[in-house]
């Protein structure tokens, strides 16, 4: 399922991750030639996707993965 805005994606992805942290994975792909990147968050049940061509979204994405990586490597989740 494609989400139309970054903020919606971020919120939904966070919720999905907290439901089942072990099962959920985050993936990201970048196509240099066509100049876009896609992010995806899935637990093999629900799948959230977001595609963008704007470089400003890269900054938001970085913030999000920093947050996510810290969560993944911590004990609680």
């Amino acid at each position: 399922m494609y989400v139309s805005t970054w903020d919606d994606f971020e919120k939904a992805a966070e919720r999905l991750y907290l439901q089942d942290p072990v099962k959920t994975r985050y993936s990201f792909s970048y196509n240099h030639k066509r100049g876009y990147f896609k992010v995806k968050m899935t637990d093999d049940d629900t799948c959230l996707q977001y595609k963008t061509e704007v470089s400003q979204d890269l900054k938001k994405m970085e913030k999000f993965i920093n947050h996510l990586m810290r969560h993944m490597a911590s004990k609680e989740h």
Partner: protein, 128 residues
């Protein structure tokens, strides 16, 4: 899948980005997930068909071999371009250092994105 140390992983990842840029083909994909030491999938609970001595097919549920995840909290990263696959595990104590390097890498290599132009409010000037 080649398992690498954190620093070598970042180095290889840069190479992947440059390769995709140089050849102008393919896309670099990165997967990130929580890693608790379990390195194989949990076996399914589907009944297996096993032939007994008389040749009859029996459906039996094979008990799950128990997976003992090591008490470990880290983050597993995989990256792929074409058929080149690399992976690494980031431990919680290395997260900060890795993040910094990783973000710089992304910023430096993803340079074919559009910049959103700020819409200047010309109307405000026109009215004054």
């Amino acid at each position: 899948m080649v398992f690498l140390e954190n620093d070598t992983f970042l180095l290889e990842l840069t190479r992947l980005f440059q390769k995709s840029k140089g050849t102008g083909t393919g896309q670099v994909s990165i997967v990130m997930k929580k890693y608790n030491g379990q390195d194989r999938p949990t076996p399914s609970l589907k009944p297996k068909k096993i032939k007994d001595k008389k040749g009859k097919v029996k459906e039996t549920i094979v008990p799950k071999p128990k997976v003992h995840p090591v008490e470990q909290h880290s983050c597993l990263m995989r990256a792929k371009l074409h058929n080149r696959k690399i992976s690494t595990v980031v431990n919680s104590k290395d997260v900060n250092r890795f993040q910094l390097a990783y973000c710089n890498l992304l910023k430096g290599n993803m340079d074919n994105l559009k910049k959103l132009k700020k819409t200047k409010s010309k109307t405000a000037k026109a009215t004054s």
